[in-house]
């Protein structure tokens, strides 16, 4: 079943998301950026990604902080798949034993 308010929310979410996906291309297709704008653009993806996962860095659970530290070390050295496996396994094991 589909609720009307839910449907409206989803359609609006999808619309603004598509605008963000096409907006950068539409505006910058025929332009080159200055030094400052380029610096901002290069920093942007990382700034967003780290902001999204920031809560994990201030978790009140010692097991979660330790697991994050393990994951961070893995992420600096290994590729995607082993890092994900190590992250998930360390979180599962540490939470089981430390809580």
């Amino acid at each position: 079943m589909i609720d009307m308010a839910t449907l409206l929310t989803i359609v609006l979410m999808a619309s603004v998301t598509y605008l963000t996906r096409t907006g950068g291309y539409v505006v910058l297709r025929n332009r080159t950026l200055g030094a400052r704008a380029t610096a901002v653009m290069e920093a942007a993806p990382g700034c967003v990604l780290i902001s999204v996962i920031a809560p994990a860095f201030v978790s009140k659970s010692p097991a979660d902080i330790l697991a994050l530290a393990v994951t961070l070390v893995a992420a600096m050295r290994l590729s995607m798949l082993p890092t994900v496996l190590i992250g998930v396994a360390s979180a599962g094991v540490l939470r089981h034993f430390i809580g």
Binding site: C47, S51, L68
Partner: protein, 244 residues
Amino acid sequence: MSISQTVEAAGDGSGSEFRRGVTSCAPVLFGTIPYALVLGAQATQKGLSTVELSMMTGLNFAGGSEFAAIQLWTSPPHIVLIVAITFLVNSRHLLMGAALAPFLRHLPKRKVFPALFFMCDESWALGLADAKQRAAAGITPAFSPRYYMGAALAMYLTWVAFTTLGALLGPMLGHVETYGFDMAFPAVFLVLMRGMWTGMAAARPWLVSLVVAALVYLFVPGAWYVAAGAVSGLVAAWLMAGDA
């Protein structure tokens, strides 16, 4: 017409370019599955039906904003709040599209606009990294549309299928956090960030983002920490570019 013919001629066999995209995306897909299951399960706990959740992930296809939306979901939903947060979380796409734009100049708009629907962090990162490598190797055009679409469609189908599965299994999964699957999310993001790493100086805005986002998360209710962290990092990048 000559433009698209040039593109197709430049690929070393279109099927293999598509397959190369799918293959390079495979480890990311694996990391995405638990995260998709968690989203689906959380959505049903918030009262969304499976159909509604599939529509959200299929039409919106932007995981971060979907997690934020589900976190903030009430019945009925606060439409303005959720749409505003969706925009803020996804505003990074503006910058990602801008970074990709120079590589898309040889492509017709009727191909670019549908392709951009599938631009997510992962397909963007893979497509851009591949284009830079090909440019360095002297291959023109540097951007391989079929490679990008291979990665993007693999990501899309995995995302929609496993969020739907999560919604169906939701009542059985209970709290997925207990098993540590939620750590897949920081793990994927940290590896993506390592790929973007160009040195300590360039990473200073990230540190600003991390500190601000963490503080806002601790002291301000809601999902504002993503926007606050991202914006302060960008301001820091702007200011630091001046003294470099």
